[in-house]
Amino acid sequence: MNVRSDAVDVEQIMRQIRARIREKRGADYTEAELQQLATVKLETFLDPRGLRSDLVQSFRQKQTAAPSPPNFAFEADTLFETHRGLLRAIRGLLRPILKLFFNPDRVTTALNLQSQINTQAEQRLRRIEDREMLSYELLHNMTLEITRLGIEVHNLKMRVESLSSRVDFDERRAKALEGVVQYRTPPPPRQTSGGGVGADPAPGTAPAAEAESADSANGERRGRRRRRRRRPGSTMADAQGQDWSANTQGGDDVDDGGADEGPADAPESSDPTDQ
């Protein structure tokens, strides 16, 4: 802020000051800032460590039972009541004289009405207190429920991520396998007891051809099949990961780890009994 002139205007300076304050503070939040603020608050609120499970108990402890406000039943004779019979009789006798000075019925009516109003007010107060308790419990339960749901959503998100990564892995693995099978050089022709197939199989048809030969080779070679087993402490995903690694890095020699689908065992892998 520059003050250049001798003829300063205090109001102008104050306007500039207020403009600067507005500029610093920022009049509006962007949508992203609002989302960020909302997220921060929600996360804080949903933090299960910060949640007190004894809120309702605390509230109940603090709720001291308020004593009923004093009230009374006011009838026409209340003003003249006494436990002394003689005095009551004298008052009864003098009542007409009293009425010469003022109208006690109005007072009685007003006080009777007030008594009824007091009773109603107390009942209303009790209802409000009960409702307040219910509202508090409702709020508390909602807080718990939101917290629980928040945690559940979080877990579900993690599961979805895990599953999607598995799906992704499977897709890539499938594509890789397809490529391996497609470009594999056909094995040299072998004499089989079944005969009947003199020509080399066309690329891409090797599994079928070998399947046929495998069928004919029968159980002798089936005994040599090695089945990969999971190592102790490793998961299925680990095992699959190792397979994938072997597939991608080892080229055609995928049998090293003992996978069923290895090219060396391709005829066997095409055996429907292995699927």
């Binding site: 802020m1 003050v3 001798d6 300063v8 205007d9 205090v10 109001e11 300076i13 104050m14 000051i17 207020r18 600067r20 304050i21 610093k24 503070r25």
Partner: protein, 425 residues
């Protein structure tokens, strides 16, 4: 011409705003007329206890007559009555009880005024809200001039003051804002002028002497007055501490005056206690700016003194009078929030030329409006004018039953509904 200055307390060492104002005016008018001061024996404005001897006295060559207060103020009763009349529907009788509970109740003073009316040309009643001003004006309405020193507090909304304002011959206002408020609540149409009060500013204040005496190094903002929550000091402390944390190498805050509020232990806040006038003016001359955090002021004499010495003022904008004076003088900034306080303080601290320009404006404003020749002339002109003005009739108090009828709106709501803000003449 013989004048009576009627005020609730009077002594050379009483430095309350209205009392000092009355003393300055009495001493200045004493050069043009015979002035007698009529006051009570009280020194303490809270209890009104009789501490000074009744009878005649002389203060700075002026004759002073003191009258005893019949009973000291009871804070409980005054508090109860204040709540009743300020916050609830009430009666005229309630308001009169409030006036009695506020004090200083001195029927002897009012009796003297009534009995010696013929001896004086005019009675100048200072502070409309006290017993002496209300009863005194009703005793001699044809010669009563009120110097209201009114703040924007609920008392101005009480119905008993309307007839008194209307009956007075003239009102000598402290500010345009005060005039607007009183005219609104009382519907007064009679003579009145915005005068204020001057001050005895030393010719050559010595800022260097002050700095040496109190070991002050570096720039500082100054507060002068009673250090009280009602004067906005708590807010000032809060704001200044936040400001100090934002600007670690900025100016300090020096406080002058008696304290009824704990002062925070902060390396940049210093309390120097109550100082004599010479030190006060030296401090003002040495300060970079004066801070006025009070919300309720009818006229800040210390702000005028700061302007007279060419120092800018940072005032609380919630006080209409201070804000209005800052705008009219072009000699001070004002704040409503901490952000405004910090920005304005930083601007005054960091921009040397601005402080100098504002100070120059303040000096000129003081010279033009609050120099003693100007003040004295306004009073003398008013006395001359009143000799030709008709005397308004005093409205009688309501009857016995009407006085007890609880139909008057709470005074606080009346004041809240009155127009507010700085007045730009």
């Amino acid at each position: 011409m013989k004048l009576a200055v009627v005020v609730q307390r009077y002594a050379a060492d009483i430095n309350g705003g209205a009392e000092l104002h009355a003393r300055y005016i009495a001493e200045r008018l004493g050069r043009h007329a015979t002035v007698e001061v009529l006051t009570t024996c009280a020194r303490d404005y809270v209890t009104w206890k009789n501490e000074l001897p009744p009878g005649e006295d002389t203060v700075n060559r002026l004759r002073v007559r003191r009258f005893p207060v019949t009973s000291p103020r009871s804070p409980e009763r005054f508090g109860t009555m204040s709540r009743r009349v300020f916050d609830h529907v009430h009666s005229v009788a309630d308001e009169l009880k409030w006036l009695d509970s506020e004090g200083p109740t001195s029927p002897a003073l009012v009796r003297y005024i009534r009995e010696h009316e013929a001896e004086f040309d005019f009675f100048l009643f200072f502070s409309y809200r006290y017993y002496h001003a209300w009863h005194g004006t009703r005793a001699v309405p044809g010669k009563a001039i009120i110097v209201p020193t009114a703040e924007r507090d609920p008392a101005i909304g009480l119905s008993i003051f309307g007839p008194v304002f209307r009956a007075a011959r003239a009102l000598m206002y402290n500010s345009y804002e005060e005039r607007a408020l009183i005219q609104h609540v009382s519907q007064r149409k009679g003579p009145g002028v915005v005068v204020g009060v001057g001050s005895d500013i030393p010719e050559r204040p010595q800022p260097g002497r002050f700095k040496r005496k109190f070991h002050v190094r570096g720039p500082f903002a100054l507060y002068i007055g009673r250090i009280d929550e009602n004067k906005g000091c708590q807010e000032l402390f809060d704001y200044f501490q936040r400001y100090a944390s934002m600007h670690p190498n900025g100016l300090d805050l020096l406080l002058i005056g008696s304290s009824v509020l704990p002062i925070p232990q902060h390396p940049r806040i210093r309390h120097l206690g109550f100082l004599p006038d010479a030190d006060k003016f030296d401090a003002l001359a040495a300060a970079d700016l004066l801070v006025m955090p009070s919300r309720y002021e009818s006229l800040s004499m210390v702000a005028l003194e700061a302007w007279a010495l060419g120092r800018p003022v940072l005032a609380n904008a919630k006080c209409d009078v201070l804000k209005g004076q800052s705008i009219r003088s072009n000699a001070g900034l004002y704040y409503e929030t901490f952000e405004e306080f910090a920005e304005a303080m930083y601007l005054l601290e960091a921009s040397g030329p601005l402080g100098a320009v504002l100070g120059r404006n303040g000096r000129e404003f003081f010279r033009r409006h609050y120099g003693w020749p100007v003040i004295e002339r306004k009073y003398l002109d008013m006395f001359a004018r009143l000799k030709h003005e008709p005397v308004p009739a005093l409205e009688p108090l309501p009857g016995w039953f009407a006085r007890r009828s609880r139909t008057i709106r709470p005074a606080a709501s009346i004041v809240a509904a009155a127009p507010s803000g700085a007045v730009r003449p």
